[in-house]
């Protein structure tokens, strides 16, 4: 048997194995109305018929119809069914990985409810098991598996950065009680970071620490499992996803905390909060919350005193897809911004209808698709421009990086900041 035939046979076995009731429903129910096209930033930027969600999903649906669906097996030409071959597998890489951020905007605009995560996720998962995950994405996962975090930061560097930020914070607020507790047993909250904060944006660690300290939270960080990210989510690799999520779970369990607070990381929050327990088939003995939810809670309860007059420039907010549409955190950022900035303006649309920035789905780790990614970001760039905002706030690192790139590419002249930066700046530090 030739290599090609072996590959496609293996692909078909994996494909059938991954068919769930939810996936089959999404595969069956599409009526090709094309309504999803006007919801997709890839299609809107290019008007290329191949960029419409229905076209992309049909690359997978064709195989389903040929091999599983009744009519497709008997009369493939009638329903556009097709055998899976190497050419179609490569198309899966180019479309499922290269032209879809899994933002699900098409899903909430589909009259039927066809879910791209079910269908293109099928394709991504099969490709991952065949070893055809795009190299950059797989490399990020491999680094995480090997080093405990996706940037390969050593424990020594991690602790050093924390100590440095603790010093910076104490100098900023002139209060030696503002500390970053490390591995504190039985703290109420364990906080996780995005490794990019440790490497490139350490001031965000300072901001988080300031917020926790000002709110009088009993918190800690763990050196055992501190990485909030989980790029296995993008590769639709539940085994690796479970492995990475369980490291954080173990860290929280070993410290005996009540809650795990995820740093401002859209996919990380979704992976740990909404997928982790499903991957590992058991419930965590602690709650998983987003740092955004905690900040809102602190302000609501009066634990965090904030002064919005510190943030006078116009601010708009970009809703990370994994946090809002797939994660349920929509009102909290608005509650926070209403109390921490003087001039807040919404992008249209926003909330669960927000457009993806283009950085989702692991896109930033897949440099081979960078050109399409920036082209597809045109819609987001236009949204930002329309607000006339000076600052774009968000609560996701992939979004942060993508928005910074959009800013440069489309010459928007905005500043991109995490929500916690704005909150930290607005804190009225209470000495006693």
């Amino acid at each position: 048997m030739s290599d090609d035939k072996e590959l496609t046979q293996r692909a078909m076995e994996l494909f059938r194995k991954r068919l769930t009731r939810q996936a089959v429903t999404s595969l069956q129910v599409c009526v090709h109305c094309g309504q999803c096209a006007s919801a997709c930033h890839y299609y809107l930027a290019t008007e290329d018929p191949k960029m419409s969600p229905v076209y992309k999903m049909d690359r997978v649906r064709k195989v389903y119809k040929r091999t599983v669906d009744w009519l497709g097996r008997v009369a493939p030409g009638w329903v556009g069914a097709q055998d899976l071959d190497e050419e179609l597998l490569q198309e899966w890489v180019d479309l499922a990985y290269g032209a879809c951020t899994m933002c699900r905007r098409c899903w909430i605009n589909c009259p039927m409810g066809v879910d791209p995560v079910q269908i293109l996720g099928l394709a991504r998962g099969v490709l991952t098991e065949l070893g055809m995950t795009p190299k950059g994405l797989q490399a990020t996962i491999n680094v995480h598996l090997e080093h405990g975090n996706n940037m390969g930061v050593s424990e020594e560097d991690f602790v050093e950065t924390l100590k440095w930020m603790e010093e910076e914070l104490q100098a900023e607020v002139n209060d030696p009680r503002a500390v970053i507790p490390i591995n504190k047993p039985h703290a109420r909250v364990v906080y996780t970071f995005n490794p990019r904060e440790v490497k490139y944006y350490p001031y965000l660690i300072q901001a988080a620490a300031k917020i926790f300290s000002a709110a009088g939270e009993d918190w800690t960080v763990s050196t055992e499992g501190w990485d909030a990210t989980n790029y296995a989510l993008f590769a639709f690799d539940p085994q690796t996803g479970a492995q990475l999520a369980s490291r954080v779970e173990q860290a929280v369990n070993h410290l005996g905390a009540e809650a795990l607070a995820m740093a401002e990381c859209g996919h990380g929050y979704r992976a740990q909060r909404w997928e982790g327990e499903n991957w590992s088939s058991h419930r965590y003995p602690f709650r998983v919350v987003s740092f955004v939810e905690l900040m809102a809670q602190y302000i609501r309860e009066g634990r965090l005193k904030v002064d919005p007059t510190v943030n006078t420039r116009r601010v708009t907010f970009h809703d990370p897809c994994n946090q809002a549409r797939s994660g349920g955190i929509v009102e909290e950022p608005r509650f926070i911004l209403a109390r921490t900035v003087m001039d807040f303006v919404e992008m249209e649309p926003h909330g669960i209808e927000s457009f993806c920035c283009g950085g989702g789905g692991g896109m930033l780790a897949m440099t081979e698709f960078a050109k399409q990614r920036m082209a597809a970001a045109k819609t987001k760039a236009e949204q930002i421009k329309a607000t006339a905002a000076a600052i774009v706030a968000t609560s996701c690192h992939n979004c942060l990086d993508q928005l910074m790139e959009i800013n440069r590419h489309y010459k928007l002249g905005v500043k991109v900041q995490n929500l916690s930066e704005l909150v930290a700046a607005a804190i009225v530090w209470q000495k006693n």
């Binding site: 429903t25 094309g34 999803c36 058991h282």
Partner: protein, 203 residues
């Protein structure tokens, strides 16, 4: 009458195929969600079932309201056409002049919507790129049914016979075409709505 018996046999065949189809789909593994809910999945599912009746709740129907009107008119026409397949044979006394006028109006409007859809599918590149013979067939059949249904309510014998033959044919083959989407619709909306509802994101 032979025509009525053909209609009943087709309905029975369609029902049998749908039962088999639903049993088949239920054999696929249902992925259960262990994550602690933030909202009410049942409320989300209930809301999702009614989304298409609330065009303001979805961006593409809110901004493309004319398309929503076309969708509504088309599907009301389908519902009336299906109802007439029973009324004409089982309760012809209900076909008063007013009812006939309403039926013909609904079928005419649905035909306009159906023809517009067909033209769009042929002319627009993004629609052509996703269309198979099954897609064109569904629209052609729907349009033919709208025409013959309208004529059948006027008791034109040839039209009535053609209408019932087309109804019998379409009923028998619907489970094998994309027209069967209405069987999967409740499942898809349930999964969609319960997912969003569970995450506290009900639309």
């Amino acid at each position: 009458m032979l025509i009525e018996r053909l209609h009943l046999y087709s309905l029975a065949f369609m029902a049998a195929v749908y039962v088999v189809r639903i049993v088949w789909i239920m054999r696929f593994r249902l992925v259960r969600d262990l994550a602690r809910p933030k909202g009410d999945s049942l409320r989300g599912a209930a809301l999702a079932m009614t989304t298409m009746f609330r065009p303001w709740s979805m961006e593409t129907t809110r901004t493309g309201f004319i398309q929503w009107i076309e969708f509504a008119v088309f599907h009301v026409g389908i519902a009336v056409m299906i109802a007439m397949s029973f009324v004409i044979s089982l309760a012809p006394q209900w076909l008063t002049p007013t009812v006939i006028a309403l039926v013909i109006t609904s079928q005419a409007l649905a035909l306009i919507a159906g023809l517009l859809r067909l033209v769009k599918r042929v002319r627009e590149p993004r629609m052509r790129a996703i269309s198979s013979p099954d897609d064109y067939f569904a629209l052609v059949m729907a349009n033919l049914l709208f025409i013959t249904c309208a004529l059948a309510t006027l008791h034109l014998p040839a039209a009535t016979e053609l209408y019932f033959i087309l109804v019998a044919v379409i009923i028998a083959i619907v489970p094998f075409t994309k027209i069967s989407h209405y069987i999967y619709y409740p499942f898809a909306r349930y999964f969609y709505g319960s997912y969003l509802g569970r995450r506290g994101v009900a639309q």
